[in-house]
Every structure is written in structure tokens, then in C-alpha cells.
């Protein structure tokens, strides 16, 4: 990360910092949810396969 980025972080206002933290937390939650959705799709596919067979 460049020095400019560091300076930007260090000078972020409290609100901006909070936004950034919230945004990152949202991203992590989204990834977790997507992982669960993908796993669910995989399980549904396995179940459907069992039914068809």
C-alpha cells in the first residue's frame, strides 16, 4: 500500500472510518452467505440426483 493510501487511512474521519469498517464487514458477511448458498445449491443437486436415481 502506498504512502498516500496510508495517509488517507490515517486522516479518515471517524464517520468515514466507520463506513469503511461497515463496508468490509458487509463484504465478509456476503462472502460467508454466498459460500452457504453455493453449498446449499450443491446439496440440493445431490438430493435431486438421489431422487432421480
Amino acid at each position: 500500500m502506498s504512502t498516500d493510501d496510508e495517509r488517507r487511512w490515517a486522516t479518515l474521519t471517524a464517520d468515514a472510518l466507520e463506513d469503511e469498517t461497515r463496508h468490509n464487514a458487509r463484504g465478509e458477511r456476503r462472502l460467508l452467505l454466498l459460500g452457504l448458498v453455493a453449498a446449499a445449491v450443491t446439496v440440493v443437486m445431490l438430493l435431486l440426483h438421489g431422487v432421480v436415481q
Binding site: 445449491v41 450443491t42 440426483h49
Partner: protein, 472 residues
Amino acid sequence: MSAGRKLVIVESPAKARTIAGYLGEGYDVEASVGHIRDLPQPSELPAEMKKGPFGKFAVDVDNGFAPYYVVDSDKKKKVSELKKLLKDSDELYLATDEDREGEAIAWHLLQELKPKVPVKRMVFHEITREAIQRALTSTRELDDRLVDAQETRRILDRLYGYEVSPVLWRKVRQGLSAGRVQSVATRMVVERERERMAFVAADYWDVTGTFAVADAGEPAFPARLTQLDGRRVVFDGSAVVLAEEPDSVRALWKQRVRWARGNVHITRRFRRVWFRRSREHRLGSVEFGVIWFSIYLLPVAMTLAAVGLVGLYFADAVAATDVFRSLWWVAVIAYVFITTMTLLIDPDSARRSWLEGLTFPGLGALVVMIAAWFPGFWETTVPGWFGLTLSHTGLVLWTLLLYTWTVLAMGLAWVVKTVEGVPAVRWLTKPLLYVVGFGPVLCAITLDAYVKEWQGASQVWDKTVKTGKVMG
């Protein structure tokens, strides 16, 4: 003026009574009862001052932070009493506490009483007859430095109270007050914390290489890259690189073979490191080794699986079917999970390239997956739609085709690259690429890199032509 009377002013009435007892006749000992003057509330300022420089804080911030003091309304009577007593005295002893506040109280008394008699600053650290008598004989001047310190403290409190505290009321809770020390300390902590958050731990590396000179007569020379464009070389795990992509299979092949040969070099260079844990690096960790070799040896694994399946087929066809189905079941589950995840994770790219995403393993591999999941689908069901039946030879050939698809796909990937170089059949490149899939192309490239390394092929760097189109 009453001859010989002396006025002694202390801070508290209790002290005044005790000290009066020790000093006896000739001394009037009075208490100021704390401060007699202070900065007024802006509402208490005289009307003509409210719009002036003192109007906001009772401090003229633009002119050396000059304060404007008024006698507290409940102290006016006390000041009058003191003035009256002073008229009857021929000496004034200011005996307020010997600290910053006490010195300031003494100064304010001086300012307000305007004594015309000699003034002495009297200090003591214990209230005993001896101590008081001693203090009386060893008086001193008022200490302006302490007075200034108190005034500065008071002004700062006023500025913080009026400017910073309201922020706390809005942001945290009503009634809180910001301190001149805590506020600065908090700011320092916050700045330090932000610096900590902004700090990016990075490993700084020097890249060392040995370079052979094209002219065989010249010796090879070592060189070390420590800077790039005047900057330290740093590995940043969070860096985002918008890369230009090669625009043809041949260009991709050339680029990736170079990368894959680099992987062969690295694997060989660190041969004593793999799967040997070390505190100094992570290359030896089991997890890293498993990931590295899963990719590095994938073409080998695919080839061995195909050879094993064919061998088993001739030994025990039923067992071969079971193994084939088990292996491809794993592939199907991984395919569904990875494809769903990647399409969901980046909806924009998914909308743009969903077909490429779905056909990443190749249409051929998808056919094999269906064969593993629905036994008889290709051999019986599909021919049945057309009223056909697969012959025994056809069935054997089809089965062998399914079992060896992983190897065939790599061979076909090489055909795709070759076809692209022949203008007459270049149109076949794209449909063939969909059949083979991008995954097998990458595996074939890795295999090619092994072969080139084994052959000791020349490694002259030849820049890959890029489209200049950045996909990000």
C-alpha cells in the same frame, strides 16, 4: 488608617479562625472563600461587550487570549468587606495556598483591592503557631509564573468547555464535559490507532538471479534487484493488479508456459524445503505444499488416473466403473460448488461471461460428468431417442473415451493451439476450445512446461503480445 493593623487574607474561613488565634491582636485574618473573580458566562457580559471579541468565550482569542474577568456576584459583598478592612490596615498579607490556584487568588485579590499599602505574599505548609510566625517573617513577592499558569489553565478549560464539550453532547451523551488533558490524550491515542490501522505489514525482498549471456564465451553473472523505479520491492498480499490478457490461445500458451517453467524452477530450487515446517518461512507448511503440488502435479494426476482406469477396465470392468463414477462425483460436486460461488461472487462478470464460467472445465468434461452421474444416459437413453442401440465395440470405445478424457483433453488443447496457427482451419479454434475447456488447456500448458524443462529448451524471453484491454 488604624496604625499598626495588618490584614491577612487566606482561602478558607476555618484556616482564618485558626491563624487569627495564632497571630493575636493587631491582625485581621479574613477568608476570600476561594476565587473572587472568574471568566463570566457570555450571557453575564455587559451588553456592549457581547458583540465584541470577548462575546463568545469572555476571552479575546485573536489578541493573545486576553481574558475578561468579573467579580462573582456572590463575592461582591466579600470584596467590599475586604476593601473596608484594607482601609483600616497598613499592611496586606496574601496568605492563600501555595499552589497555582492560591497564587492566582492572591493576584485577583490584588487586582480587585488595589491596595495602597505594602503587600506581602505569605506562604506556609502547616498550620502551627511556629509555622505561621515563620511565614510572617519570610514573605516573598507574588509568583507571576504560577499566576500565568493558572490563567492559561482557566482559558483552556473555557475553550474546551465551550467548543469540545458540545460535540460530546451531540455525539455521546448530554452533560459530559471534555477535559483539556483527556481530549488531547484521546486525540493522540486516536491518531496512533489510525496509524496502526494504516500500517501494512510487508515483507521486503531482494530478487536475485543468475543471468547467462547469449555469447557462450562470456561467463554468467549474478544480479540482484533491490529497487524498481527507485522504490523498494514489496510483496503486498492485498495488491490488485489489472492485467492485460493475451488475445489468442498461442499467446496465452507462450505466456503461461513461461510462468509454468518458473514454477518448475521454484519447485526444484526449494526441493529441500517442501513439507518441512520452518519458523522462517511458510513454504514448508503442509497446507501450502498440498495446494502447491495439487496444482503443480495436476496433469500428472490426471494422466495417472486415466492410465489406472484403463488398466482396471481390462482387469475388472465393473470395478473400473465404480472408481470412474467415484472420481467424477468429486469433480461434479467441486464443479457445482465452485461455479455457483464464482458466478454469485461477482454478478457483473457473471452476467458478461456466464457461458465461459459454466463451460470452464470444457463441454467434454461436462459430458463425462453426466456419464458418471447418470449411468446409461449416453450409452442407452440418448441412442434410444433415435431408435438406435450402441454396439459392443462402440460401447467399449465410448467407455475408454470417457476414462481417458482427461488425457485426451490435454492433447486436444495442444491441437487447439496448433489449429489456431493454420489459417485455413483457424475457425475451429473457438468451438474446439469450448469442447476442451480452459482448465485442460492450463494443464496441457503445465505439461508442456515439464517437457520443455526436461528438454532443457532455451528460455529466451519474448514478450507476449497483449490486447491492451484491461478486464477488471
